[in-house]
Symmetry: C2
Subunit: 207 residues, 2 copies
Amino acid sequence: MRPAHRVGPQLPGTTEPAERADAARNRRRLLDAARELVREHGVDALTMDALAKRAGVGKGTVFRRFGSRTGLMYALLDHSETLAQEAFIFGPPPLGPGAAPVDRLIAFGQARLLDIEVEGELHRAAELGSPERHYSSQPYRVLKTHVAMLLREADTPGDSGLSADALLGVLAAGLVLHQLRTLGYTREQIASNWEALVRRVAGPAAQ
Amino acid sequence: MRPAHRVGPQLPGTTEPAERADAARNRRRLLDAARELVREHGVDALTMDALAKRAGVGKGTVFRRFGSRTGLMYALLDHSETLAQEAFIFGPPPLGPGAAPVDRLIAFGQARLLDIEVEGELHRAAELGSPERHYSSQPYRVLKTHVAMLLREADTPGDSGLSADALLGVLAAGLVLHQLRTLGYTREQIASNWEALVRRVAGPAAQ
């Protein structure tokens, strides 16, 4: 499975134009700067102006690249999803391949909760609108494919697709932000509940 | 715990004006007719005109009561939530009191899935908009209180509030409608997965 929404790997035997590789590198550099801004100062601090200053480029470059602040937010969410996908598909264990499926599921939830805590508004924005569009979106389907695969590897009984939907619901940004901000849970409490849930759902029947 | 959104019980020592009791009865009769219309012909068939005909009253009465079709839809959702609450708080087992907590949880999900199948659009509409508003709403909090109580009665380890959120996520109307309509699952498949999930999450650790 390849991460969705990436600039694809170069095909063997083709020559990538230098400008295109440059553009991709510049885009990635801008998005890394945007991600840092959000992690350090929250999503409100992410303006076209602030990003231009941070990345040391002209404001025109930022507008040319992303069109608007909304365009930038979606590009950043996309970038975060790509990094997350790279981590759980190709990265080191326990998130990536090489650990037991239950341990990979636990690490997956922990990584997701950290992302939601720091980039929650972006995640939540992506979940707004039609549920149909959300559940049919490529990022959701990549997450679901991954979780369903780990559930099958762990010999979890029942339909792996439905069970993956069930587990992913626990990590929905809107729900997690409600638990963190309104109900006052800590991320550690939510992560520990995730671990207990995964052990019960995906672990061996006799515990 | 009292069902939310009900016309409250009469306080001892007060005299309820006859008009008010009449109005409540008429309202309930209109809502029962609206519910039948939706169950028989789907949510699109629910118009102010059709409801007036069905209930044998003038169109003016329906408009006076609900204001608009949107007002009617919200009143109907409210009515359905009230009936659902009555069933799981006061009704016969296994949904109501008197059965084992795990059996009550299983019956709760089955009843919810049936409601979503027949009144899904209404439920989904209620989940749209701000997640914060949804999770803080009285209907959601009543469901959560009920599920958390059953989880505690079943001696489920972990935080009962977080686990209740996790289980209720599986019954979110937007998700269930996606599973039914887009992914092609039957209600029986989803109900059977719910039962397996509840047994793993809330059942004894050694199964």
